[in-house]
């Protein structure tokens, strides 16, 4: 850590500083973080970057359907990654799919983080029956495979963006709750909490103003890894045909479209969106893995 210079040295006092320092001291994590940032920016500015709007019926030409990569289009431009069954430019469809995938993954991750963190903090601080009840629920949720719960829920509810987000939140909040509770239990017995109590601060203020900042490390780690798994889970559900509707095509749906023509050799329709999904999830996971290493007390001093 010394070799990174005094500039980073000062920033390691805060949790976010430590996280940033941890990422920058690992070449692998740095590459992962840069890739993630690049993909997020691509998603945000997608409509301005994509060669065509793949969902504007006026822009696509059915005669251009299923062209291999690098084919020229009817109007002279080049389809870098080929076209799909409707004659859409694959690259543009992928950029739009990336937007949907990241938005759904991030949104469900954030909601699960808020719900799980709140419940975990309350369980640790209040204790007793409330704690027992919340933890029983956590055990139940973690005991069942996430994909199965989401699958059954969507089988009952039907398709839809908000239904998918709801299902993803439901299967993810318990991870946060468990991690936050464990961290908060340690914090609760520290002197600064005692000091805050004797100062007569209100419970919410102690919980969220004083203890929460000290519970950030596990929240950051679990949050990073959960966003990756949410993106992956959404893609899986959409591939199975019970996730996002056809009007909101995520990367998973693009891959599903290519599945039907894979055996006839038109590989590009599913290979490229899949590669993009893989790079996205892998980059986030590499960063998350590094953060876990940085923040895990078991690795300290080794």
């Amino acid at each position: 850590m010394m070799s990174t210079g005094s500039k980073w040295h000062r920033s390691t006092d805060t949790t976010l500083g430590r996280a940033l320092d941890g990422i920058l001291t690992s070449p692998k994590a740095t590459v992962g973080a840069i890739l993630t940032l690049f993909l997020v920016l691509t998603a945000i500015f997608g409509p301005w970057l994509a060669p065509q709007n793949p969902y504007d019926l006026g822009a696509i030409d059915f005669f251009d359907a299923r062209l291999p990569p690098m084919s020229p289009s009817m109007n002279g431009s080049i389809y870098l990654l080929g076209t799909d069954g409707q004659g859409r430019d694959m690259l543009s469809a992928m950029i739009y799919g990336l937007r949907t995938s990241i938005a759904v993954g991030l949104l469900s991750g954030v909601v699960a983080l808020v719900v799980g963190t709140a419940l975990g903090m309350v369980a640790a601080y209040v204790g007793g029956r409330v704690d027992a009840l919340i933890m029983r629920l956590v055990d139940l949720m973690l005991g069942l495979p996430a994909i199965l719960v989401a699958l059954m829920l969507l089988a009952m509810l039907g398709q839809g963006v908000w239904k998918v987000i709801f299902a993803l939140v439901l299967v993810q909040w318990a991870q946060f709750a468990r991690a936050v509770r464990a961290a908060a239990l340690v914090e609760r017995n520290k002197e600064y909490v005692e000091a805050a109590v004797s100062l007569g601060l209100s419970r919410p203020r102690i919980l969220f103003g004083h203890m929460l900042p000290n519970c950030l490390p596990p929240i950051i780690v679990v949050g990073t890894l959960q966003v990756a798994s949410a993106i992956s889970a959404e893609a899986t559900l959409s591939f199975l045909g019970i996730g996002l509707p056809i009007t909101e095509p995520s990367l998973g749906l693009l891959i599903a479209n290519g599945y039907k023509v894979l055996l006839s050799g038109q590989y590009w329709i599913s290979v490229y969106p899949g590669l993009l999904l893989l790079i996205l999830v892998f980059s986030i996971n590499v960063v998350g893995d590094r953060l876990r290493e940085v923040f895990n007390p078991r690795f300290l001093g080794r």
Binding site: G143, L151, M156, L262, G274
Partner: protein, 324 residues
Amino acid sequence: MTVFILRRLLQSAGVLLATSVIVFLGVYAIGNPADILIAADATQLERQSAIVALGLDRPLIEQYWIFLSNALRGDFGRSFVFNQPAISLILARLPATLELALVALIIALVVGIPLGLVSGLKPNTLVDETIMTGSILGFSLPNFWQGMMLIMIFSVWLGWLPAGGRGDTAQVLGITTSLLSWDGLTHLILPATNLALFNLALVIRLTRTGVREIMPLDFIKFARAKGLTERRIVLVHVLKNIMIPVVTVVGMEFGSIIAFAVVTETIFSWPGIGKLLIDSIMLLDRPVVVSYLLVVVFMFVIINLLVDIAYSLLDPRIRLRDTQ
């Protein structure tokens, strides 16, 4: 030991009861059970008689009692599509899924434990870095896409292995299996690999962490001082101690292997319960969906019970603590 098993049995029964309440509420209270359990193309008269026959005109508690007692007798209703009892559809396809899941689990363990051992014994070397990056890749590869790539490479391009189906099966003791014929085995390789990959990555990590925690401990130093060979220390003493976390987590993961078999079976047209589930969801064949859920949860509970027993056999401290 008996006290321990009895206690676990009671807990398992509790979990099953809780699940039955949740499934019941999901089907009967949130949705309209008449829509879920009666085929959409039923006439008004058929609908009325079905409502009476299913007891949907009675109070909720009484309905739950009927649901529970039917479920206990293995009666989950009839499939709209196949017009057979839903449970017999599930049971007929269960062996195919179990076979796939078991082979996937074996692949994960046989490949994952040695890789994790190597990685943990040589931490922070190039080999370790490569294996660990590979395991993150294993976690990140979307299961369904990875399966499609296997098909593309090994079936479409190279033409070595079939792209789907179960191949020739043989009957052993009344169970149909693909394991005994060459054709069956070639059909099994790709789907089992597809299903194994995620857990392979998990086993690598668990083993590596276990090795790194155990190596600095005193009993390893003692074994070295006693003059045991490094080979014996690793293969006997270290391996024995990492089996506890590996068995627990892998046992728990067997449930999620069965859940993920839904994806694998869909891609490889493997005729198991996962493919049946997706087909049933698409065809709105709710009784099959409901019985799938209950059967799978029942299996989870049994597996967790077996894992707990295995766990207590491997680590006597747990058994002792629990019976006191």
